[in-house]
Symmetry: C2
Subunit: 197 residues, 2 copies
């Protein structure tokens, strides 16, 4: 079944580069090193092929979890944010294209199940745990705070290569800055060993 995967990978790449209409079956076949007929014998139609390719590309995302019992908030959040950013960055091509075409082909894309959406849920429930433990400001608006950190990471990963002049720091430096700003925003205070930054 190596061949199926080669086709799917070629389809995903081309989709990320040129979108649904821009991706032709001839291109997919050429990049996969396969005859064009083979695509149709395997997947039936271009739509079915791209559907499967996109689902695969999104599903392969491994979920990164935040601890059930919060410990060192800065350490935990930083590791999580790095992983989320890396995942977004790695798939930025597909995500950007999908975002632009989701209105035209809504059935092609996962929404509730998208990696970004579940990362958001993960963060929100972690923040609720922090608030319940009195580790952050009691008046914290969890959905807004979630949207803030997710939005920061998302926009950075999506536009860093397009508008490079906006991002002077490289990602290894930028993400910790975001996390520290975020900790200040939510009023994080740790019972044990928190340095201000």
């Amino acid at each position: 079944m190596v061949l199926r995967d080669k086709i799917l990978r070629a389809a995903t790449e081309l989709y990320a580069e040129t979108g649904f209409r821009g991706t032709t079956t001839r291109q997919i076949a050429r990049r996969a090193g396969v005859n064009e007929v083979t695509l149709f014998r395997h997947f039936g139609s271009k739509t079915a092929l791209l559907h499967e390719a996109i689902q695969c590309a999104c599903a392969r995302e491994e979920r990164r979890l935040l601890p059930l019992i919060p410990g060192e908030v800065r350490v935990e959040l930083l590791a999580w944010a790095r992983a989320v950013w890396a995942g977004l960055w790695h798939r930025r091509g597909v995500i950007r294209t999908a975002l632009g075409e989701i209105e035209a082909h809504p059935q092609l894309y996962p929404k509730e199940n998208s990696a970004t959406a579940s990362a958001g849920r993960e963060l929100a429930s972690y923040l609720r745990r922090l608030r319940a433990a009195g580790r952050v400001r009691a008046s914290l608006d969890v959905p807004a705070a979630t949207a803030m950190l997710m939005g920061t990471l998302f926009t950075d990963a999506m536009s860093r290569d397009i508008l490079p002049f906006l991002y002077r720091r490289n990602p290894t430096e930028a993400v910790p800055e975001y996390v520290d700003l975020f900790l200040a925003a939510i009023g994080a205070n740790a019972p044990h060993s928190q340095e201000s930054r």
Copy 2:
């Protein structure tokens, strides 16, 4: 010259809905209530037409300025953030599509001159003024803070209608929440009349 504008508006709409390849000259002509030949007589080619349409759509954005001498930071930032969010929301269709196609057709889109980029510059210089005036934490990382607020507003405006289950608050409530979180993040303190929220 009403006709030219009708064509450009139709082209922009269709582009936002279906992208460059998805937009056909026949569709543009029909939506503009014009014969297809007229498009070519006016603009020469589909590419030239869409190029002008996109440039117009982005240029019409009015710049929203932040005061040179900061006064009531929360009031000023909130008004600015509302305006920026509204601009992003209004053009979300074109922006999403453009973001997905900027790799394939880079010359079609403004980058340095995009409304989002100049809004980011505006915010960054305002933050530098605040820092110089000692109104925010002295150690504030201006580029990171800028990326944070811009990213929050951008992602909200881009994904609110796509992932509605992530956004429980309507935008009129959400933007102030973002601003308050942001004020806490940058350690804003006002010399006169700042209530905590």
